[in-house]
Structures are given as structure tokens and as C-alpha cells.
Amino acid sequence: MTGADALAAVLALPAGGAVLLALLPGYRTSAWLNVATSFMTFAAAAGLLVLDRPPAGDFLQVDDLNIVFIVLNTFVGFTAAFFSASYIGHELEIGRVTPANLRFYHAMYQMMMFGMNLALLSNNIGLMWVAIELATLTTVLMVGLYRTHEALEAAWKYFILGSVGIALALFGTILVYVAAQPVLGEGMPSMVWSNLIAAAPRFDPAMLNVAFVFLLVGYGTKVGLAPFHAWLPDAHAEGPTPISAVLSGLLLNVALYALLRFKLLMAANETAVAPGPLMIALGLLSLVFAALMLYHRRDIKRLFAYSSIEHMGIIVFAFGIGGPLANFAGLLHMVMHSLTKSAIFFAVGNVTQIKGTQKLADIRGLTQSHPVLGWGLVLAVLSIAGMPPSGVFMSEFLVVTTSFARMPALALILVLGLLLAFGALLMRLSGIAFGAPSDGDRPMHGSLAPLWLHLALVYLIGLHMPQAMVSWFQTVAAMLG
């Protein structure tokens, strides 16, 4: 097996899986087929790590930057599928979904994975745009899966805002092409990443500036940066929980990846406006805003959705600051956030099934009634709140210390936001996890293995990062400038 095969497999497996799942009746088989497909995709992606990388083509490429994303993406895709397989049956039993819905759900799951993998592997700004649109549209359909008022409304909101975001991102993409076209000539070469990056210094900076604004707003909507975030909390709260995990853990990253790519492009052109300050401003705004929004949440999934906005803010801030340490921290934070936040949603899925509600006020004393789940949730929330020895702490440590030495005022805002978020999350946590448990629990169906697997990774990386991962991150951090 060569790298090219692995690359093809990463894309073909989910695509094929989607078709197969759309045809297969019976949710049990499809659930496990979904897991199997996701696992094989992950295996193929992991193969990309060790195998020789195929050369970059007009459409696809594998480089240091996107391999971080693709491995993470397929891994969380796999664990989420695993969780989903143990979880979704109960949703059928209590009548929230129909078998037909489930068939659709599994097919869409692979479709979404295909979209995201394609977006990450694409070497072409046009293809990337198409792939992200595909991923967005499929998740819209997943969010509306339960067909309740709330779910449909959330899906609609997501759809409308997402569509506008897509449109703006497309305009930005067109502008990048227009900027590249005089240099690289007409046609496909002007849309290929590897060409663009190489030729970026000769592009018209003014054109790039305008393009970046549109891309920032367009893909920023997808990342969930405030004030473009409105779709995010509702989409997370009303969709099936495995999808919330995937949304927070993966889709946001994919959009972030797109943003990073364009940031690279901007940074390569010296006369263009520096993307850093814009990203810092949006990052801080998202962080502080989301932190404040955490306080009045009554719905557990919406709570953690806002926390995702907050963390996206931190990551964007870190990349905006730039420099080897901050970029390293941004990458690390992104990986840690994906793992932790999806772990949280795995736990939350179980919690909502046990308690039969998503209302925070009705969830109490989890460490008492369900110690393994409860303490898992406690660990996950502490990790997302930036407590050591999780990897999140390491990245926050790096971001805060380096930024304070360089931009004290900004670091103070950062710290303020972090503290606000910390206070809100912990307030909720002490209500959910401690106290006398509420009565009338239903049995737990969802698997806890993905939760603890993610937690183990997060804490292990916090304690000791494998050397391979370090050098890999350092390369990418250097690449990001």
C-alpha cells in the first residue's frame, strides 16, 4: 500500500460507505458498518502518517499541516461513530427517530466525513470550498434529524447563516483567484494551494486584503467566531449528540483549517494586511462573548456549545499572535479541544439519556449516581476549563505566558475571558456532578469507552507528549510563521 492508496482510501471509504449505508436497511448493521467504515478510514489516515506521502496534485495533497487535521478528524470520526452505535438505538426505542431516519443518519454521517476529509486533503481552494459546503449541508440535515420544532428551527438557522457564510467564502475564493490569475495564468493552476503559496508574494496585496475579509467572515461563520456564531449553539443543542460531538470536535476544525490556509497565504505576502490583528480581535471577542454567554445557560448541550465558541476564540487568538510557541499552542489546543469537547458530548449524551432531559437544573449528583460517567464528565470539564494535567492547560499556559510577554493588554483580556468561562463552567459542573442525585434515572446505554479513551489521550498528552508529535507540531508551527 502506498501513500496514494491511503489517500484514496481516506476519501473513498466514507464515500462508498455513504452509498452503502443509504441502501442498507436495519439500523444495527448500519450502525456497526458505520463504525467499521470510520475505523478503516482512520486506519488509512494513520497510514498516511507512516507511508510516503503522494506528491501534491491539482486537487489533493498531504502535507504537514493537514495531516494533523486529517488524523484527528478520522480518529474522532471513528470514536463518535462508535459512541453513536451504542447510543442511537435508545433514541429509536424512545421514539425520537424512525428507522428510516436512522438509515438517512448513517448515510449522512459518512457523507459528512467524506466532505470533511475532502476539505482537509484538497489542494485547491475551489475544491475545498465545495467540500466544506458539502459537509455543512449534510450536518444541516443531521441537525434537523429529530424533526421537532426546536430541531427544525436550529437546522434552519444553521442553514441560512451557513449559506450566507458559504457565499461570502466563495466570493473570497473568487477574489483569491483573481489575485492569482495575473501571476499564475488562467485556469486551474491559479486555484492550487501549492502554487498559490509559492507565488503569493507577487499577488496584488489589496486584492488579497479584500479576499481575506470575505474569507474571514465566511469561514469564520463556520468556525463559530462571534458575532457569526449564532447557528452554533442551537445546532449543537438540538441535533443528535454524536453529531454535536462531531460538530464541535471536527467541523469547526475544518473551517479553522481553511482559515489557517488563507492566513498562510496572507502571511506570505508582505505588503498585504497582517491577518494576525484581525484574528486576535475576533478571537478575543469570541472568547469573552462566549464566556459571558455561559452564565445563563439552562441547556447542557448549549452550554458546551458556547464553550466551543470560547475555545475557537482561544485558538484563533493563538494563531493570530503567531510565533513558534503560540502556533504550537494553537495547534495543541485545537487537538485537545477536539478530543475533550467530543468526550464531553459523549458524556452529555449519556447524561441526557439517563435523565431524559437536557435541562441543567434537572441534572444533579452524577458522581453519586453514576460514578464512572460522573467523574469522567468532571475530568472532561476540568480539562476543557484548562485545569492540568490535561493538554488544554499546556496550551493555555503557552498562550498566556507568551502573549503576556509580548502584548500585555491583550493577554489581560485573554485571561479575563478564560476566568469568566472557568467560573461559568465550574458553576454548572458543581451542580451537575455533585449534590444529591435526582430520582427517576433511566438505564444508561451509551458506551463510556470513547469518553475515557479521549480523556486518557488528553491527560497523557498533557503529561507527556510523544516526541514525534512534538516535532511534527513544531514543523507546522514554524510553517504557520
Binding site: V217, A230, M394, T401, L419
Partner: protein
């Protein structure tokens, strides 16, 4: 030696894991605590050995933590002093818990965290780079938070835990800033690298100010103390003992490490806020202790007082050091460090006493107790030792460190800055006030709990503590006495750390006759706890013997006299609230004390009511407004969750236009 210390920390961590696995085993509790005790003993011995042999600092690097840095660990004299504090406090708390822990309803909420908490504190002391330090620091907070939440069904405990963790998070953030400032943008997180950088005085002062906030919030400096009196008491008592006796010291260690070792020369004026905050903290802390009605909270407030005292000593030391007066700086620092050791001894003892009382009666409120000296005579005796020690009365140990501190204060005329010359005696007056108030506080604490008549049935039927608990308390009481009568050993023990921090030390005390302490020169001052003890024992014993021998030894029991109208109802005794009345009245402005008397109209047979309330001004004037402000802003922002899609689109559109306009102008 560092390998030994790190190894012990690792063992403690492993013990935590093992404790998690032992859930449900009946013997788990005793086994875990016994093992903790052994490990802590080893830690204390490592510390003592390092100090006694004046061994060179030893260091090691473990490949965990920041990947390109690793976890640097180092054991030097300064760490060793605090290691001794940690070890001693840990041994006693663990031994106490062997007995005390039997009464825990949910041991699985304590056992997995207890050894880990000790390990985290050890690692804070051993850390030699910013990352390891902060990770250990935060893990320490985290595990103690879990321990605070042991009795989580209680709403008040949950609130306490929340407040605690938020304040801990705040402190860590500020520490992050401080270390960020020291490490610089390039990220020289290694302590050696931090030490090597020369900083401008302003920068050093800023670092120190941040450290004061960061470490001070953990130690309980005003006005960052608000969590302490709620969190420390909420934990099981042996944990309270560790938190108050040891964890606050670990926080102070963080400060000392930075202020005296890492940050380099500090301008003299930074000592001003330290001394002021320390002295004010001392007075305010003990004032609150004097009026609070909950036994464990009284102890927690008293911790705040003692931290203030220690901190003021550190400030004084810094002032001397900034003026190049090494020996005097050494005196002040010695006073601070010795007081830290002493405070660990008696505060742990008293928290254990409170725990024993809690176990025996199930109550913490002063007004539900009383007369326990009859039911728990052994505990009562040990408690008396603790109370006398903490009240800074000779010949016990609390006095020694206060005395040393006053000696340092008396050297203030040598300071060249007039500001300090004025400030230090004034601060000395505040510290004296705090010491005197501490005596009042512990008369109240001891008198209401142990003396008089029982105020409730549980107090009437209490039984004395078990052997393990008594052994732990007895050991601490013995150490209190020993440290009081032969303080020279303690002073010599901390001397290497002092030398490391300020480059000078107080004279060697070991050779002095009659165990006398001579901090500067004999002509200036000296004190021999041993002789005072001997004299008191001889004169008291001799007079008692003579009186019994030569005069009368007859004794008759009779009802209490009470000026002729004794009341059988124990409620008529002075309780916690009434005992506090004089001080509450006198200090009404700072305590925001209010008394309301409701007298029913004539003819109404209802009882008149008297209510006295005090409030923490830091809480009502700083924290509550802050909480309100955050709540207000959050509520305002919360409206953004409920907009229509059109408005959300409007937001996107508006931002886009804003960015484009900005770009047009920029171009």
C-alpha cells in the same frame, strides 16, 4: 536526595491510583492513610537531612511536561524547609485520619485524592521550571477541591468548593502572567533561565505584585481570602488541617521562591505593600475569627491572620535585603519561616481537635457545644496546648516566632527610607494587636467548646477520640512544646534556606546556654523558652506543693455560686456570640457589625430577640459587586441568544461592512 523526594511523590501518586482501585474495601482507609503517613515521614526526613547536612542543591529532569523542556526538579534548602513542613503536617494528618477516617461515610471521595494532594504539594516544592510548578500548583488546587467536596450533598459545601476553585483558577491565571513576564516571549521557563535574566526594578516589582496576587490568593491574603474561611472548614478535618497548615505554606513557598530567588533584586518600595497587606490581613483575619460562630471557620480565619504575619515578615525581610542589610533580612525571614513551621504545628493540631469534636458531637457551631473538657479530657488537654501556642503565649512555640518578628521590627530604625521607618513600627503595632486578639479569639474558642456546661445533648454525651487521633494530636502538641522551649534548633534548621534566600543568616543558636535564642546580639535581646518553662513549672509546682502541704488541701463540691442566682439552663452561659460582643462593638466599623433588638410590644409574651451580624467588607464591597457586574453583563449579552435569524444576519452583515470600511480606510 532529589531522586528520593521525587520517588516519594511518585509513590504517593501511585497510592492515589491504588486507592481508586480499592474502592469498597473496608481496610482501604487505614491502609492508605498508613502508607501516606510513612511516605510523609520519609519526606520530612529528606527535608531534615538536606537541611542538617547543608547538602548542595540536587536536581533532576524527568521527561514529562513541556516536551522540549521536561519536568525539572530540584531540592535545595528552601524547598527542604517547606518539605519538612509538608512532611510533618502530612504525617500527623495521615495518622489522625487512620482513626478519624473510620467515621467517613463516603471514604471513596477522600482516599483517592488525599495522597495525590500530598504528592502535588511535594511537586510544587520540587519544581524547577515554570510549567512543572504551575501544573503541580493547579493539581494541588484541584485535588484539594475534590477533597473539599467530600460532603458534597451539603449545598454550602458545593458553594464553598465552587468559590474555592474559581479563586484558585484566578490565582493560577495571575501566576501564569507572572511567570510569563519572567520567562519572556521566548519561553525560558526553566528556573535557571529565569534566574539568569536581569530585570529592571519596575519589571521585578510587577512580577512581585502579580505573585502577591497569585500566591496570595492561595495563601489567603486580604482581600483575596474570601474562599478560605468557607473552603477549609468544608473539607474533612484532616484535610482542613493539611489545607490550613500546609497548603497555605506551599503557597507562601511559591512567593518566597520567586521573590527571594528567581526574580532578582527587588526595589525596596515593593516591601511597603507587602508589609501593609500582611499586617492588615493579620488584624482583619483575627477579628473575623473573633466574631465567627463556627469552630472550624474560626480556625480558618485565624489561618488568615497567621499568613498575614508571615507575609509581613517576608515583606520586612525584603525591605532589609533591598537595603543590603543581610543579617537583618535573615532575621525577618527566619521569623517568617519559623512562624510558618509553628503555624503548621498548631493549626493542624487545632483543626484535628475541631475534627475530633465534630466526630464526637457532629457539630461545628460553637453555640451547640460546651463542657467537653469533662467528656473528652485528653482532647481537651491537647487542645489547650494548641490554643496556648496559637495565642502566642510563652513558653510555647507561637510566641517564639512572634518574638523574632518583633525583634526584626525593632531593627527598622536602621532602614534608610523614612517611609519604612514610619511604616514598620506601625505595622508592628498592628501585629501586636493581632497577637493580642488571637489570645482573645482562642479563649473564646476553647472556652466555649470545652469549658462551661454542655449546650446540647450531643455535647453532653460526647466521647473522647480514638487512639490514632490522639496520637497525632499528641505528637503535634509535643512538637509545639518542644519548638517553644528549644526554638534554637528550629532557627538553625531553617538557616540554610535563609542563607540561600538573603545571603546571610542569624547567628548559630546551637551553642547558647540554656537553649537561649539570641537573634542579633545578646546585648540587644534574648529569650529562653526553656528557662521560662522551667521557672513557671518550678514556681507553679512549688507553690502548689507548698500550699497543699502547709495550708489547706480540703475541697468541697457545691453548686456554682454565680452571685447567688445561678441558672440551670446552659443557654445562660456566655456563648460564641455573647463572648464576641465586646470586640464586635469595639471593632464595629471594620466588621460592619450591626445589632438589632426586637422587643415585642407590652403585653405580648413573645421573647425579645437580639440579632448581631457582621459582614466581610471585602466580600460585600468587592466580590458581590463584581459578581453582580458579571451577572448584569452576562444577562445583557444573554439577549443575543434570542435574536431572530434576520438580526443574526444583520450582525454578520454589519461586521462585514465594518471590516470592509476599515480596509478601505487602511488602504
Amino acid at each position: 536526595m532529589i531522586a528520593a523526594a521525587a520517588g516519594i511523590a511518585l509513590c504517593l501518586l501511585a497510592l492515589s491510583v491504588a486507592a481508586t482501585a480499592m474502592r469498597g474495601l473496608t481496610a482501604a482507609s487505614a491502609a492508605v492513610y498508613a502508607a501516606s503517613a510513612v511516605f510523609c515521614l520519609a519526606l520530612a526526613l529528606v527535608g531534615i537531612w538536606t537541611l542538617a547536612t547543608q547538602a548542595d542543591a540536587s536536581a533532576m529532569t524527568v521527561p514529562v511536561g513541556l516536551p522540549w523542556l521536561g519536568a525539572h526538579l530540584r531540592l535545595d534548602a528552601l524547598s527542604a524547609v517547606f518539605l519538612v513542613i509538608l512532611g510533618t503536617g502530612g504525617v500527623s494528618a495521615s495518622v489522625f485520619a487512620i482513626g478519624y477516617g473510620r467515621h467517613e461515610h463516603e471514604p471513596h471521595r477522600v482516599l483517592p485524592f488525599f495522597p495525590g494532594f500530598l504528592a502535588a504539594m511535594t511537586l510544587v516544592l520540587l519544581a524547577d521550571d515554570a510549567f512543572t510548578f504551575l501544573v503541580s500548583w493547579e493539581v494541588m488546587s484541584l485535588l484539594s477541591w475534590a477533597l473539599v467536596l467530600t460532603h458534597h450533598r451539603d449545598e454550602a459545601t458545593r458553594t464553598a468548593g465552587y468559590l474555592y476553585l474559581v479563586m484558585a483558577g484566578f490565582g493560577t491565571m495571575v501566576l501564569l502572567l507572572a511567570f510569563g513576564l519572567m520567562a519572556g516571549a521566548e519561553g525560558g521557563y526553566d528556573f535557571a533561565a529565569i534566574r539568569a535574566v536581569t530585570r529592571s526594578p519596575g519589571l521585578a516589582a510587577l512580577v512581585l505584585a502579580l505573585m502577591m496576587v497569585g500566591a496570595g490568593s492561595k495563601a489567603g491574603l486580604m482581600p483575596l481570602h474570601v474562599w478560605l474561611p468557607v473552603a477549609h472548614p468544608a473539607a474533612p478535618s484532616h484535610v482542613s488541617a493539611l489545607m490550613s497548615g500546609v497548603m497555605t505554606k506551599v503557597a507562601l513557598y511559591g512567593f518566597v521562591r520567586v521573590a527571594f530567588d528567581l526574580v532578582g533584586p527587588v526595589p525596596w518600595w515593593m516591601s511597603v505593600p507587602m508589609i501593609v497587606i500582611g499586617a492588615v490581613t493579620a488584624v482583619m483575619g483575627i477579628l473575623f475569627a473573633n466574631v465567627d460562630g463556627d469552630g472550624k471557620r474560626v480556625l480558618a480565619y485565624s489561618t488568615i491572620e497567621n499568613i498575614g504575619v508571615i507575609f509581613a515578615a517576608f515583606g520586612l525581610s525584603l525591605a532589609f535585603r533591598a537595603n543590603g542589610m543581610g543579617p537583618l533580612a535573615a532575621l525577618a525571614l527566619t521569623a517568617g519561616l519559623v512562624h510558618a513551621v509553628n503555624h503548621m504545628l498548631f493549626k493542624s493540631l487545632l483543626f484535628m481537635v475541631a475534627g475530633a469534636v465534630l466526630n464526637a458531637t457532629g457539630r461545628r457551631d460553637l453555640d451547640g457545644l460546651g463542657g467537653l473538657i469533662h467528656r473528652m479530657p485528653k482532647t481537651a488537654f491537647l487542645a489547650l496546648v494548641g490554643a496556648t501556642a496559637i495565642a502566642a503565649l510563652p513558653p510555647l512555640n507561637g510566641f517564639v516566632s512572634e518574638w523574632l518578628l518583633f525583634q526584626a521590627v525593632l531593627q527598622s530604625p536602621q532602614l534608610p527610607q523614612p517611609g519604612l521607618q514610619f511604616l514598620v513600627p506601625a505595622a508592628g503595632a498592628l501585629l501586636a494587636l493581632a497577637a493580642a486578639l488571637a489570645a482573645a479569639c482562642f479563649v473564646r474558642f476553647y472556652g466555649v467548646i470545652f469549658l462551661g456546661r454542655p449546650r446540647s445533648d450531643v455535647a453532653r454525651n460526647a466521647a473522647d477520640s480514638d487512639g490514632w487521633s490522639l496520637a497525632a494530636m499528641g505528637g503535634l502538641a509535643l512538637l509545639c512544646v518542644l519548638a517553644g522551649i528549644v526554638p534554637g534548633f528550629l532557627i538553625d534548621l531553617v538557616a540554610p534556606a535563609v542563607e540561600l534566600a538573603v545571603g546571610a543568616r542569624v547567628p548559630m543558636q546551637a551553642g547558647n546556654s540554656w537553649f537561649t535564642v539570641v537573634p542579633v546580639a545578646e546585648v540587644r535581646s534574648s529569650y529562653s523558652g526553656f528557662l521560662v518553662m522551667t521557672f513557671i513549672a518550678i514556681s507553679g509546682g512549688a507553690s502548689a506543693w507548698l500550699v497543699h502541704r502547709l495550708a489547706s488541701r480540703r475541697l468541697r463540691r457545691a453548686p456554682a455560686w454565680d452571685c447567688g442566682f445561678p441558672n440551670a439552663d446552659p443557654v445562660t452561659q456566655y456563648g460564641g456570640g455573647s463572648f464576641a460582643q465586646p470586640i464586635r462593638r469595639v471593632m464595629a466599623p471594620v466588621l460592619a457589625a450591626r445589632e438589632t433588638v426586637t422587643i415585642p410590644p407590652p403585653g405580648d409574651m413573645a421573647a425579645a430577640r437580639h440579632r448581631a451580624r457582621t459582614e466581610d467588607l471585602a466580600w460585600t464591597r468587592i466580590y458581590l459587586p463584581l459578581v453582580t457586574a458579571v451577572g448584569f453583563v452576562a444577562r445583557r449579552f444573554n439577549a443575543l441568544q434570542f435574536l431572530t435569524i434576520r438580526r443574526y444576519l444583520g450582525l454578520v452583515f454589519g461586521s462585514l461592512i465594518l471590516l470592509l470600511t476599515g480596509l478601505t480606510i487602511w488602504n
